[in-house]
């Protein structure tokens, strides 16, 4: 009986210690992940707004997704890469890179970034909004 009680006591202490270790360890990891989070996903922006930061492009994205996000015609991107648009419509940039440019790691991503930047430079600059007068 005393043996069982001692074993139970050790089990309780063990549970509490493991609980503290788990909470601290995973808590730190969760906090670190939360800090990396910039609060918004890279979804296509709402109607009227255009994403301009090409550094947000990742190799898991597809060309139609990038075209929609950066308001660039997908044909321009396919043309820049010199690949058929119908066949590679749903492929990720990584798959396209592995298929067409296996010896040039990251080529597709950097080529698309350049194409979008060139496209942005060719567009007329938008006029700055005039400051609104403060209400009396």
């Amino acid at each position: 009986m005393a043996g069982i009680r001692t074993r139970q006591r050790w089990m309780m202490i063990g549970l509490i210690i493991i609980g503290i270790i788990f909470t601290a360890f995973f808590g730190m990891r969760a906090f670190r992940a939360f800090k990396k989070f910039d609060g918004h996903g890279h979804r296509p922006p709402p109607q009227g707004k255009v994403e301009t930061d090409v550094e947000l492009i990742r190799d898991w994205m597809t060309i139609p997704f990038i075209a929609r996000t950066y308001q660039v015609s997908p044909e321009i991107i396919f043309e820049a890469l010199n690949i058929p648009p119908q066949k590679d419509h749903d492929k990720s940039l990584k798959t396209i890179n592995d298929e067409y440019f296996p010896d040039q790691d990251g080529f597709v991503v950097s080529a698309i970034k350049e194409t979008i930047l060139a496209n942005q430079a060719s567009l007329p600059p938008t006029a700055p909004q005039p400051p609104t007068a403060p209400a009396p």
Partner: protein, 174 residues
């Protein structure tokens, strides 16, 4: 389904990624959700079945132990909540919960109701987060899996403290 059987396939990561891929049109969201839900429920049913068929052997081995009987009774009391929350919140202990549910003679239809509710929550929450946060789905998974670990730690800690309080009460009474 493989994840629910205990194989380390990272089912939650796949689901979050599926949400992100549906957002950009690679996958169809309704069919992905339905296939994911069906697979998860099937896997849970398998692991419940494994527990169910091991029930007799476990009963023979531990049946006389009062600790085993107490554990069975207290599981039966809290089983619904345990099944529901381990589907989507503390996923690390989902498979042991299925095995214990099957092994402790928990009613299959009841298990299925809580299981389906929990899995729908899992699909909507994890898939929805992947869909909403798009390219940040890896960070979302990193955060969620670690957050699950925090909750598991808190549950273990809370359980330990509860047992200490119970023990103190018994000592005072005697």
């Amino acid at each position: 389904m493989l994840g629910a059987l205990g194989l380390p396939v990272g089912a939650s990561a796949v689901l979050i990624a599926a949400g992100a891929f549906s957002q950009q049109g690679i996958l169809s969201w309704p069919s992905t959700a339905l296939i994911g839900l069906a697979g998860a429920i099937l896997g849970d049913m398998f692991s419940f079945g494994m527990g169910h068929y091991a029930k007799d052997a476990m009963q023979r081995r531990f049946g006389k132990s009062p600790t085993w009987r107490n554990a069975r009774i207290s599981f039966q009391k809290q089983a619904g909540l345990a099944i529901f929350f381990t589907r989507w919140l503390i996923t690390a202990i989902a498979i042991p919960t299925n095995l214990i549910a099957g092994g402790s003679g928990y009613k299959f239809t009841r298990f299925l109701i809580y299981d389906i509710s929990g899995e729908i929550m899992w699909i909507l929450l994890y898939g929805g987060l992947g869909y909403w946060f798009g390219s940040q789905w890896e960070l979302v998974y990193d955060f969620i899996s670690n957050f699950g670990g925090v909750l598991l730690g808190l549950v273990l800690f809370g359980f330990g403290i509860r047992e200490v309080i119970k023990r103190q009460g018994k000592i005072k009474k005697s």
